[in-house]
């Protein structure tokens, strides 16, 4: 496990400040932190809350692989990826990614890469709750 990569899945609220602290280093002048939050509408429907579930051990493996790829591609010095599971209210953060680099361009690009890859690869699912029922997002 690389000391400059921190990944986690938790039922507890996520903290943007914890992400910033996890990647802060004296040789890095740029830290980019992204928070994905629960939105009140999706595909024209009002959303009241979301339940996230994960295949945790595989998702953590994916997070580590995603972190390693982004570190290499953008020369990042430290990476953080955290995802929450369980029932989340509107506005709460479901995911927080952070990337630290000597300069800002790589921090922005690296952080973008982290969240895009997490959304594409991590075995995590969400159920959106509406007035009456719920739906699995992306159920095809």
């Amino acid at each position: 496990m690389n000391a400059n990569t921190r990944v986690l899945i938790t039922r507890r609220p996520l903290s943007v400040e914890a992400a910033r602290r996890a990647v802060a280093r004296p040789d890095c002048g740029g830290i980019c932190v992204f928070a994905g939050t629960v939105r009140n509408r999706n595909e024209g429907r009002r959303v009241s809350k979301i339940r996230y579930s994960a295949f945790e051990s595989m998702a953590l493996r994916q997070f580590r692989a995603i972190a390693a790829e982004a570190r290499k591609k953008f020369g990042l010095r430290a990476v953080y990826i955290a995802h929450r599971v369980g029932l989340l209210k509107l506005g709460e953060a479901s995911v927080v990614c952070a990337a630290a680099s000597p300069h800002r361009a790589e921090a922005f690009a690296g952080c973008r890469r982290l969240i895009e890859r997490v959304k594409k690869l991590a075995p995590i699912w969400k159920e959106e709750f509406h007035g009456r029922g719920k739906t699995w997002v992306n159920r095809a």
Partner: protein, 74 residues
């Protein structure tokens, strides 16, 4: 050989269980065999031992297959 197949998301909900056991030689066989228990859309991906794997992946004794519905993290 007998293989353990783990179900997640709507697959687990609809099957009413998180795990089934099937006869399979490849990852793709395991998915096909699981269709006797639950309807599986084409969008479902396969993982073997917690890594995504192609259908033709040959299984070994003790391998665990997981059926991964379309992901929606973030």
């Amino acid at each position: 050989m007998k293989v353990k197949v783990r179900l997640f998301g709507f697959l687990a909900e609809e099957a009413g269980k998180r795990e089934i056991s099937v006869e399979a030689e490849t990852a793709g066989d395991a998915l096909e065999a699981a269709k006797s228990v639950i309807s599986i859309p084409r969008s479902v991906r396969i993982a073997v031992n917690e890594e995504y794997a192609p259908s033709k992946r040959a299984l070994r004794s003790g391998d665990v297959v997981s059926l991964i519905p379309p992901v929606a993290g973030g």
